[in-house]
């Protein structure tokens, strides 16, 4: 059964709370922006300029601060910059995932991203009331369509017809 999507998996929090290496290079940082999570573009000044694309109100496609701007120095940083981490941050959203089968063929599975494991992910399909597990390392493309709405909650029997 679907668990509460708002809960982080335990091992993710473990990674985030891990100690940072003392040799991590210091980044110039403006204190008032410390908690802001925005894509960092080298050409733009760090002041609060609106980014080119509007930040989606739900999906988290950006990188956690200080984790994707340079070569990672800790396992935690390396994880934050990975596809696995990106998917984990966006559990609960409807996705269309394309997998590579063999060397040329692709297969597409769509549904709600339910779980991201070490080498697998699980998609839930409300239309067919089934779970599908898939190989994470064959995953090539993921489409996220509901860029402005909330994730799917276990309490909903059917979504209410919102636009996206």
């Amino acid at each position: 059964m679907i668990q509460n999507y708002m809960e982080q998996t335990d091992w993710t929090q473990e990674v985030q709370a891990g100690p940072r290496s003392s040799s991590a290079p210091m980044q110039p940082m403006q204190p008032q922006q410390e908690m802001q999570i925005r894509p960092w573009f080298p050409q733009e000044p760090q002041a609060s300029q609106p980014s080119a694309a509007p930040e989606p109100a739900g999906l988290d496609m950006s990188c956690p601060m200080m984790s994707c701007q340079h070569s990672p120095t800790t396992n935690a940083e390396a994880y934050q910059g990975s596809l696995k981490s990106l998917l984990s941050r966006n559990v609960g959203y409807f996705i269309v995932a394309t997998f590579l089968i063999g060397s040329e063929d692709t297969v597409v599975w769509q549904g709600i991203l339910h779980t991201v494991g070490n080498d697998y992910l699980v998609i839930y399909q409300p239309d067919y009331n089934r779970y599908i597990s898939a190989d994470l390392y064959s995953l090539k493309f993921v489409e996220f369509h509901n860029t402005q709405s909330i994730p799917y909650f276990a309490g909903m029997n059917q979504w209410s017809g919102s636009k996206t």
């Binding site: 959203y93 409807f94 269309v96 597409v108 769509q110 549904g111 399909q125 409300p126 239309d127 369509h145 509901n146 709405s149 909330i150 799917y152 979504w159 209410s160 017809g161 919102s162 636009k163 996206t164």
Partner: protein, 146 residues
């Protein structure tokens, strides 16, 4: 929440042909799936086999847009309440079934009158059959050059 392909197709069927009966709805579903599996031409290029791409291709299905000619279009897929029959027809079409009369059709429209145009939307489609209020058009050779 984004709609799945099945949900999109069921809502489009209800929106475009809800009043046409089961045959009319199956014909519309056949047109959509014919575009999805088109062997060439514009729909093969733009859709790339995706039901979502076909339904949301701009200026194709009025029901997939909330605006029409600048004004709000209340008859759109987001305002639909699909029922079992619409999902059944969507599943039927996705599984590969087609209405024989619309087996090759790529376009349809409602003429709001007794006569169907011989060509729709242009030289790329010739009139084949009328089902209820909708006229259906098969592709000409010119379509495969689009």
């Amino acid at each position: 929440m984004a709609y799945s392909d099945r949900e999109l197709l069921a809502r489009l069927i209800q929106c475009e042909a809800g009043g046409e009966g089961e045959t009319g709805m199956k014909a519309v579903a056949s047109v959509v799936m014919n575009r999805v599996h088109a062997k060439g031409g514009e729909y093969a290029r733009v859709g790339q086999g995706s039901i979502r791409n076909i339904i949301f291709q701009p200026y194709q299905f009025v029901c997939a847009s909330e605006t029409e000619n600048g004004a709000y279009n209340p008859q759109n897929i987001y305002n639909m309440r699909p029922e079992a029959i619409h999902y059944e027809i969507a599943d039927w079409a996705i599984a590969g079934n087609r209405l024989p009369e619309a087996a090759d059709a790529l376009w349809f429209y409602n003429p709001f009158g007794p006569n169907c145009r011989s060509r729709f939307p242009s030289d790329v489609g010739y009139w084949y059959i009328r089902i209820g209020d909708h006229c259906f058009y098969n592709p000409t050779n010119a379509y495969y050059d689009t």
